[in-house]
Amino acid sequence: MLYFITKRILQSILTVFGVVTVAFFLVRLSGDPSLLLLSADATQEDIAAIRDAMGLNRPIWVQYLEFIGNALQGDFGNSIRQNSPAMSLVLERVPATLELALTSFAVGIGLALILGTIMRITRKVWLREAIMWIALARQAFPVFSFGLLMILVFSVGLGWLPSLGRGSWQHLVLPALTLGSYELALYLRLFNASLATEQRQDYVRTAYAKGQGRLQVIFQHMLPNALLPIVTVAGINLGLLLGGAVVTETVFSWPGVGRLIVQSVSQRDFPVIIAGVFLLSLIFVVINLIVDLLYSVLDPRVRF
């Protein structure tokens, strides 16, 4: 167990290191930030001067080693556009990202578990079909247009909820629903499929043969097993949610990390991009480590 954790932590560090390295070289390929900083009539000398100041004239491996050395001390450099440390710019955005990601995650997975269980318990075929149909229809709807639709109905039409920005809990409702309902569809289908598999398991038959009732069998025997695949997918997906909610963040002008990174890419703000990528990859590997450990608690067959 200790061996496993040590191994996984080392792997995680290596992963983050690799991601940051790839990001470092990729952004360097994307173009010269000095051109964006200067006005169009800047002379060749101005460009050379600013490149020199930014250290862009040195060989790339020197730049890389210097970057790694600084990064190891927690220094990711200053933002090119705003004169403040890149990492603190990213960290500023983290609470917003966490708020949106965790709320939509909870909405998605919570509703999926409730609806999935209802589908398994109910004997009404139409109810089962209706739940699945709605979930499928939602999944078929792109996040972007669904978000606009929500704004159109609840902000513009009914005027119940704010459409932009972050602040009160009302601000959170629309983006969280937009993102969460997409998650819901994913989890519901997975959960329903794994419950259907459970239904045919021998130990479910054993439980009925003991004289257990349907609800007892569902809650005591089927659910614990049906949750296992959900945990795996949820781990990967939560990581994606944290960094990849860009579309939702853009539609609702949500000040999250994803949106910051996208903005920084278009402004070639290298330090911010790399600081953001570093932080997201770190969160991603930590979540996956937790999922693996959680799995060994939930499934006694998995031992490290």
């Binding site: 054993t206 043969a209 003991k210 004289g211 257990q212 499934d299 006694p300």
Partner: protein, 687 residues
């Protein structure tokens, strides 16, 4: 319809006219058709039949647990005067687990993997004893564990199912079933998934718990030998109908239905070697394609297409001595069966040791080793698991070596190493005089043509998306020798018609699929065929067909077989030589007759004593040697002789060094037991 065999006994369960339907297209089809039987208090009633006979469905109907879309459309089920078919789901809950309980076939899946075993036992107790406190329930559960022979019940009660071996899990399942001392215990193939020696332990536990509580038992099984040893009465099911009932002695002594007679004749025997096994022709018809008249008529060699058989559906009718048979000509069965038995050609086994020394072996294995690296424990200490240790044997061309042993003994690893699907850790293998283990590239490719394999499960060893033609042609295409005529020829050799070529595996029964797998293995005209449990997954009547086919092919093409099996009767029938393996080592090796008639190693003796001998009267069966415990952990085998932890003859010197596999008492008969000389001679042992 059924009258109790002995009228002084009381009827516990009475099933009448049970019919189970499944919707097929627009109509329905009877999977179980008008089945009636009685079970007396405290008796063991066996329901015997091949897969698809409806034996398990009958029991699920009794439990009220038929899965949708199956429906019980007719019949009554009365347990101690209570009509079960009138009860709703909640009413049945009071019966299930309390008045009757079931032990399922596969102990690996019958327990919930994420719940501690004790909790699963607790559930069964709590459901029917709502007044008990948690402490009382646990005490009762631990008591149950003790009764089914689980060592250290207090500790093991809080473990998860994956920490138990197969045999131990089945004991847990039995503990759950016995939690409320039911009147009726249903055992659905309770030992089919277990090894021979563990089988004997589990049947013993079942007998003990039944004797303690006086419960009756329905034993559902395809294994006639098991049934012969454990049942009081037998009901034989064929294609959804009951074709014969009677006491065990009656049914095995003089079957009254040609199907029963055929099944019994299909079983290989350990005490003699016959030229061909009797095999029932054809296969069980699909339930919606049953022939008109008697469902067995198309496979019946006694019927000879008489009008009554092809037109009138026989019903179960009373016969003398309280027996029943569903055959129009039941009275003829006995003489027909006798004629069949008389037609068996019992082979005279000659001593061929001279031949053995003279000829050059086609496959020669010397000191073969295989180790696996496994990490375990704190900080992943490396450990080596020795899966094969010093395996040596020779096989002459055209002969068969039987490899027997329980799961985990290394017999399948040996097959993989011989096929070079796995690299050996040491030793040498000579195939046709060339070293097989060091071959690489094209040399290995062409050597592989000479060594082919047939696996156990014909359902997963054939690609479901390929046609039969492509499956058989694939090896030829790989070796650039494709020939369409050859594919047809191969198919004919294994007894299938050319119409099979364009169909896919899904359209064939298990026995037919195994024939296709054999045809594929023969495609490259190999010298040696490795048969890894190749007939183990087949029904009795089909198994006999495939065994006969294998022997015919061997005679025709001079094939050499390595026949891996846990079924000793089959090995006795098909092999010339036999090697018994235990924990990665051969512990006894010799001609099959030598080893079976004069076993020297106590493990071999135990295995042989566990073979059901349905053809021998109970009194003459001799002592059943019950091995204690499970196979030891191969990572830390006992010092000295690996078998000593389960051996009843172990002495102090057994712990010191591992006995070599050498000739100890008789020529050409090797064994690895220090006390072989005493043990092979009971008189000496007694003194």
């Amino acid at each position: 319809m059924n009258k109790p065999a002995a009228s002084d006994q009381k009827v516990l369960l009475s099933v009448r006219n049970l019919t189970i339907q499944v919707p097929v297209g627009n109509g329905t089809c009877n999977l179980v058709d008008d089945v009636s039987f009685d079970i007396m208090e405290s008796e063991v009633f066996a329901l015997v039949g091949e897969s698809g006979s409806g034996k398990s469905l009958t029991m699920m109907a009794v439990l009220g647990l038929l899965p949708l879309p199956l429906r019980m459309t007719q019949g009554t089920i009365v347990l101690r005067g209570q009509e079960l078919t009138e009860l709703d789901f909640n009413g049945m809950r009071q019966v299930r687990g309390k008045k009757m309980a079931i032990v399922f076939q596969d102990p690996m899946t019958a327990l919930n993997p994420v719940i501690r075993v004790g909790k699963q036992v607790d559930e069964a107790i709590r459901l029917h004893n709502p007044g008990l406190s948690a402490k009382q329930i646990r005490a009762r559960g631990i008591e149950l564990f003790r009764q089914v022979g689980i060592p250290n019940p207090e500790q093991r009660y809080d473990q998860f199912p994956n920490e138990f071996s197969g045999g131990m899990r089945q004991r847990v399942v039995i503990a759950i079933a016995m939690a409320n001392e039911p009147d009726l215990l249903i055992a659905d193939e309770p030992t089919t998934a277990l090894d021979v020696t563990i089988q004997a332990q589990v049947m013993d536990v079942l007998r003990e718990v039944r004797e303690r509580t006086g419960a009756a038992m329905i034993l559902i099984s395809h294994d006639l030998g098991l049934v012969a040893e454990h049942a009081d009465r037998i009901g034989v099911l064929y294609s959804g109908s009951l074709v014969e009932t009677g006491t065990t002695e009656q049914v095995f002594g003089a079957p009254q239905h040609p199907y029963t007679a055929g099944l019994i004749a299909s079983l290989p025997r350990v005490d003699q070697k016959v030229d061909r096994l009797y095999s029932i022709p054809g296969f069980v018809p699909a339930p919606d394609k049953r022939p008109k008249g008697c469902a067995f008529s198309t496979r019946c060699e006694m019927s000879r297409d008489r009008d009554a058989c092809t037109h009138a559906r026989p019903t179960l009718r009373s016969m003398p001595e309280g027996r029943h048979s569903a055959c129009h000509y039941a009275e003829e069965t006995e003489s027909w069966a006798k004629a069949q038995a008389a037609a068996r050609v019992v082979l005279d086994e000659v001593d061929d040791s001279a031949l053995r020394q003279a000829a050059e072996p086609i496959l020669s294995v010397q000191d073969l080793q295989k180790e696996f690296d496994v990490s375990r424990g704190f900080l992943g200490r490396r450990a080596k698991m020795k899966a094969l240790r010093g395996i040596s044997f020779d096989i002459l061309k055209g002969r068969t070596l039987g490899l027997v042993g329980e799961s985990g003994c290394g017999k399948s690893t040996l097959a993989r190493v011989l096929l070079r699907l796995m690299e050996a850790s040491g030793g040498q293998v000579m195939l046709n005089g060339k070293p097989l283990l060091t071959m690489q590239g094209s040399a290995l490719r062409s050597a592989r043509r000479n060594l082919q394999v047939v696996f156990q499960d014909p359902y997963s060893s054939l690609d479901p998306r390929m046609t039969v033609h492509d499956i058989i042609a694939e090896p030829m295409r790989i070796h650039d020798c494709y020939d369409a005529a050859r594919v047809n020829e191969l198919l004919a050799h294994v007894g299938l018609g050319p119409e099979a070529l364009l169909r896919r595996p899904g359209q064939f029964s298990g026995g037919q699929r195994q024939r296709i797998a054999i045809a594929r293995a023969l495609a490259l005209q190999p010298d040696v065929l490795i048969l890894d449990e190749a007939v183990s997954a087949l029904d009795v009547s089909i198994q006999a067909q495939v065994i006969n086919l294998l022997r015919d092919l061997q005679a025709e093409f001079g094939l050499t077989y390595v026949f891996i099996s846990h079924d000793l009767s089959v090995v006795r029938h098909i092999s010339d030589d036999v090697a018994v393996m235990y924990l990665g080592r051969i512990i006894e090796y010799g001609s099959v007759r030598e080893v079976f008639e004069n076993p020297e190693h106590p493990y071999t003796q135990a295995l042989l004593s566990a073979i059901p001998r349905h053809h021998v009267p109970e009194a003459e069966r001799g002592e059943r040697i019950l091995l204690a415990g499970d196979l030891p952990n191969p990572l830390s085998p006992p010092s000295g002789c690996a078998f000593r932890s389960r051996c009843r003859h172990a002495v102090a010197s057994c712990a010191q060094s591992e006995p070599e596999l050498i000739e100890r008492t008789r020529p050409h008969h090797q064994s690895a037991c220090l006390r072989a000389e005493e043990l092979s001679n009971p008189a000496k042992l007694a003194s």
